[in-house]
Structure formats: C-alpha cells, structure tokens
Symmetry: C2
Subunit: 269 residues, 2 copies
Amino acid sequence: MTMSTTSAALGAVVQIRPVATAPQSTSSTAAKVERCPTHCSSCGLRELCLPCGLSGADIDRLDELVYTRKRIKRGESLYQSGDSFKSLYAIRSGFFKSSVLLEDGRDQVTAFHMPGEIMGMDGIGTEHHSLNAVALEDSEVCVILFSSLEQASMEVRGLQRQFHKVMSRELVRDQGVMMLLGTMRAEERLATFLLNLSQRFMARGYSQTEFNLRMTREEIGSYLGLKLETVSRIFSRFHEEGLVAVQQKNVRILDVAGLKRMLGRHLAN
Amino acid sequence: MTMSTTSAALGAVVQIRPVATAPQSTSSTAAKVERCPTHCSSCGLRELCLPCGLSGADIDRLDELVYTRKRIKRGESLYQSGDSFKSLYAIRSGFFKSSVLLEDGRDQVTAFHMPGEIMGMDGIGTEHHSLNAVALEDSEVCVILFSSLEQASMEVRGLQRQFHKVMSRELVRDQGVMMLLGTMRAEERLATFLLNLSQRFMARGYSQTEFNLRMTREEIGSYLGLKLETVSRIFSRFHEEGLVAVQQKNVRILDVAGLKRMLGRHLAN
DNA sequence: CGCGCCTTTGAAGGAGCTCAATTTAGGTGG
DNA sequence: CCACCTAAATTGAGCTCCTTCAAAGGCGCG
C-alpha cells in the first residue's frame, strides 16, 4: 500500500495509441502544451507539477519564476554530484535518472523521473548537488531559480505549501524505495517497479498497460538493488507466467492483478 | 563518502564519561537545557536543530512556535501511519525509530532519530503521516505546529531557508540509505551504521567511541535490510577482529580506521 | 553490413536466511 | 535479595535466492 501511493519510483516511457517513437510528436493535448511553452498556467502537466492546486493569480506568480527552459540530450547530465546548487528543474518532457556515485565508480540509481516531476531538491541542504541527474532520452526542463522560488514562497502561501508537499512526497517515495530494498525479494521488487511505472504513466494520460522502458536492465537493477542478469531472468519468468509481454524495452502488462498478488505474497502465499 | 556526510542514519545512545543509565541525569550542559525548557535560543541543541544558523531576532520568532512539549514513554508512539498531520517534532531528549508497516504486519525501520533532529515531515504531503514514530526510550519532543511554521517562514527568510535545508538533508540521508541497501554487503552495512552513529553522537558532544544502542538487533536488522541473526553474527565477527567491543547494547569502537577501510572495500579489497 | 552494446540464458558458487537450541540480561514478585 | 520469567542475543547447520562467470543471440547504428 505504501508503494502504491508513492509518486516517483522509477522511470520509463510509454507511447499511448500510435506507437510513435519521437517524443515530441505526441497527441493533441501535448501539442497544445508545445504552443504555450513558457506558462505554467497553460501547461498540460500543471496538475502533476508545482502548480498543482494553485489558483489563477498564484499560478501567474509562478509563471514569473519559470522563465528559462533547458534542453538536455540523451546521455547528458542536468547536474552532477558536487555541482553548486542554484535551481530546481521541472521536467517538461523526457526522462531522467538520478544516481549517487560510489567510491569504486559504480553508481546506484536512486530514482527515475518523468514529466511533471521536480528534480534538484537534493542540493538545497548543502548548496551543492549530491546526485547526478542524467537524461535517458532527449528532454526538456523548466528551470526554477531557487532563490526566486523562496522569495515567491514568502508571498504566496499556496505556493509555499505546494513546494513543501512536493518535498514531503519525495520523502515518502524514498521510504517506499527503502522498504522495497530492505524487505522485498527480487520478484516483488520488479513487480512493484512495473506497477509504479504503470500508475505514473496513467497519471500522465498514457497507457497503463503498454510502455517502452527508457533505461537499461542494468539501470533497473541498480535501482532495485539487483544485478542486470537477475532483472532479465525475472522479466523472462513474468513473461512465461503470462503476467507481462516483454520484448526488449517494450513492456505490455497483461495481468495487473497477478502482479499485485505478488506483492501481497507475504500474507497470501 | 555519501554516508559520512548524511546526518541521521540510525539511533542509539551514548553516555559520555560516567556511564549513567538514566537519560535525564546527564552532564552539566544538558542540565542547563532543562532549566530553560521552552526557548530555542537557550537550547543546547540549537546548532543541530531548526534554529541552526539563525540570528537572535529570528530565533525569537521561532521561540513563539515552540510553545508545547510532549513526553513520550519508551515504546509509545509519537504518531502512527494514517494519523492526521498537524505538527513537526524536534527531539529534545531520547531516541526514536521511524518505520513503515508492511501488509503482512512486519515493519521496516526507515530511520533512527536523535536529539536535535526533526520528525514528522512525512506527513506534510498528504496531511497524514505515512510513518510510525516510536520512542526507543523515554523521550521529550518540542511540538511545532506546522501551520505556524509555514506562517513564520513567510516572515522570516532565514527560517524558511533553514527548514528547506532540513528537508533536503533528509532527502540526501535517504539516498545514503538507498545506497546502503542497494549496493552494500552485510559487513559494510553494519560498519556504515556504526560509523554514522559515532559521528552523530560526536556532533552532540558524546563519546564517538563508546555508546549504548537503544534498539534491538532486530531493529538494526530491519533498518539495514538484514535479519537479526546476521546482525548478531557480524557484531561477533567485528568483535573477533578487534574492530569493536560489543557486549549486548554496549558498543565500543576500537578501530575506526578499520571500519572505514571496510567501506572502501570495493576498491581496496 | 559489421561492430558494439544490450539482453538473454546457463551453470556453479556464495552470502545471507531459516530453523532451532542455548545463553544472557533485565524486570518482577515473592 | 534471590528465584523466576520473559525478551533479547548468540551460535550452529542446512538451504535458498541471488550473484558471478561465461557464452551466445539480437538490435540498432554508423
């Protein structure tokens, strides 16, 4: 239950209806967004993003903050561990992963991020980022100068409240990941991962049953605390059991209930 | 390196100098704290807590927020999953654990909390707590009505900034735990745990080499993603290797460098 | 078309878990 | 103050799940 209420536990992409590969050429609602690129008030993601719950006048104030956009190519990083912190980033389009670099050079993926989610909050505490944020596909983010956000938070109560909620939900999300890493077996972890992806795609108007993963098996494994071979094996097992149809990056969830049952396994067995 | 900079990854107690078992009858500085219980400005924990970095006038504003104290007996909970959220809590004395309840009744410990740390931020996002917070010994907390804190944040820039830092550091701490759970072996996890405890005790003026654990092996295991038997075995192994002297809840760290070496194991082997 | 990266699959090994027995510590009441 | 009682900790033995090592197959891209 904890996992199902958390917001951002992974990162992948789904193409609804026509399986268009180009991220830009999406459906009509997304196209509308493209026409008014600089305003939160007209952004199709506003219900998922920082403006969520804000009324007209308050959103206008938020619009003033978001005056810069930034395009990040697949494989490039938005920020790296140690970079000085100045801004938060709201994902406009694309996908990212966050990871911590280990001493031995390996990195642990701590999150996957989808459009509407806020990145960069790890840098607030020390004024330096602790995470690496890398685009998993060509992406675009809204740059929110943090000092401006703080200033606006002092003027607009709703905005402050909303920002606090975003940070708090991130904390709750992390708890879900800790639970996953601390108590679940490999099958449960992957099932949780897939269900979470499904839910987040649905929230964005995409298909909840079919999507394309943007990350490799190794990245999934890193996130779930498993080796890439294990991830691959369990995908295959799910496939054999008729739970999902997996072909490389393409995933179709065939039996949501079956996957959910897998999580209650502790009890039901 | 990530872990070493995180703040709150565990929970245990140390008695400096005389090994007094009563939590109240601590040394002189703590006694001083008891004399002025209701003011952040005179609180011995202010450098670790919310007032950290605030100047005189701003602290006075903070003092207005913290007008309630609450005593929690060992084993009692400060709040439970599902409770409606109204306040944050700054630990005045004592120790807590935070945990998420799993469907099957087991709980995963997500954090241990020491004096000066802020609890309850998990409730901001949904207005309901997602964690259970339980006292591991008789404790006292300062109650901070969240609506008041938000109000004050709109008036005092430094306070807002400080609160954001506290939340952000909690996010960074969580990343450290994820890294621990996702990539470390049992020995590394326990070594990390002990070093983190040591560091946090030191920050509070206690001995960094000797302390008493307030949690059981099972709770440590839950936090570290291990079974209690494994925790016990590794304590024994550390003991044999001369890294620590462990006797039940009492821990003396004999070889800090040795423990640290254990973490660089990936490289150094 | 060929090269590299990602993925899949197999077989063997190991780290940590499960189950179980024993010891120890701490709290309670006689 | 001691005996009892319960909860916590220790330790052992066997097993399981995941990892490690290895090889082959597939997809995309220049």
